[in-house]
Assembly symmetry: C3
Homo-oligomer: 204 residues x 3
């Protein structure tokens, strides 16, 4: 069950990576590399930082196969997928909610304190997309466009680490944390909520 | 013998990194950094992902010294080297064949399954060049130009992990795997073979 | 005492990251991400490469909090800070001297040889800034502008690893190494010393 959710989140991320590659006119290798990096990248960075090597995304071959299949489907059928932007954004919100919670949980299990564990939850959720953008030659969307994306992930990861300090069973706090992240992110998509940019200063 | 082959592959990669730095008008530090990153980067990523720390490229000082010397030679003599593009491409094919096979072997030894081990073989072969390009401010050549580069590396790494499942002595499958990678890559250089790009869709 | 010095160096680096984010018109997430990455990035790369996971920057929550606070201050008060460029450069020189020496020491403690340990000292000093620049979409300043920055760090790291081979107490060589790095870097700021660029060759 958790594996299926995980593979679902991963495949949405992989689709978003492959779509970016198509739009930047990368070749088929670029589509596959960006699918793999976007799908597995955040989790790999988390696992390397907490010392859980080899990372889960490499230890279980199904993750890699899922990302590759997602990449090949996009390479072949991208005109149709390109028109499904909203649907992909919605699925992506689910991937984000799932990954930031599962990432924070795993970091906590490996003994990290609440704040670093929450940070690694966020890294699990947004790290793959940041690597995708750097490889595609653009400033990561999540840090530059004012999109409300990392903050819902931070909330979900923070609630998860707070819950993990209590005696509650994991599902009792992990599910609400993921739910709130997803709901807030969906609200941002539908209502156009953004995060603030720095004020323009006079000296530039 | 294996060490000499390894240092040879590394120094060709380091030369290619240093040449990119020269052509992008980086300074002497940029030439050295790109030589080191291109020569050692792929192997370091592989070793970090499989938990083999410190990476081989750092544990043995000869790797680092080789990359630095290659960088200094390019910094001093790059006009001459710039005219040896074809020669460098040929040597680079040997480095690619060697690195994708040795990378896949090492990942297998560390207990990774066939598919992730093959992926890490490819990472060993192409990862340094990708880091070189990101640092130099361009989209990695290997994912954007249609160059037939990662696919021969994938073949070599795949043959290696398949061979490692058998009872055959390592050289019996590693040598043919490296040979096929190199031959295919050389063919791509001489005949201009490329990989497909995504079809243009009407909605952009 | 060492912790305070460490947090001071980290916060200067975090300020420089946040200022780059403001100048590139990233959003508040970008300001925080670049503050964290610039402050903690170099040490995290070093720790991952030597196998010291989780990295010190994550194991102790005070590092992360310091970087976040530095980022928030810059986000709010950047017009004033933007006029303090020289002051920030001076503090940054202290951060550089501190980090390259402490990084080289830690790598040596983890059993790396003198040359790789010196390299990792330099990585600790300049790695965060390189990641900052890549995320902000520009070629890292330290490899492209001829700024005399990595060479003083290399001197400091090299002196540290040489000193670590002797019987001397750590402070006896670490302090002079950090001092020379800082002095050389300050001299470069005030006198405009630079590193050489490659000669232009006729064939471009």
């Amino acid at each position: 069950m958790l594996l299926i959710l995980d593979l679902l989140g991963l495949s949405v991320f992989a689709v978003s990576g492959a779509l970016v590659a198509v739009r930047r006119r990368l070749d088929v290798i670029g589509v596959l590399v960006l699918a793999i990096v976007t799908g597995l990248g955040g989790g790999c960075v988390r696992d390397v930082l907490i010392g859980a090597t080899p990372p889960a995304g490499l230890a279980d071959w199904r993750y890699l196969v899922t990302a590759v299949i997602a990449g090949l489907i996009v390479f072949r059928y991208h005109p149709a997928l390109g028109r499904m932007d909203t649907l992909i954004n919605v699925f992506d919100a689910f991937g984000l909610g799932l990954f930031c919670v599962s990432g924070a949980l795993k970091a906590t299990e490996y003994g990290l304190g609440p704040m670093p564990a929450a940070l690694l939850g966020v890294v699990t959720g947004v790290g793959g997309g940041m690597m995708r953008d750097v490889l595609a030659g653009r400033v990561p969307v999540v840090i530059s466009t004012g999109e409300l994306y990392a903050i819902p992930a931070t909330l979900g990861a923070a609630l998860t680490v707070v819950g993990a300090q209590t005696e509650l069973p994991t599902l009792m706090f992990a599910l609400p944390a993921a739910f709130l992240t997803i709901a807030w992110r969906l609200g941002a998509i539908w209502r156009g909520w953004t995060v603030p940019l720095p004020k323009l200063s006079e000296d530039h």
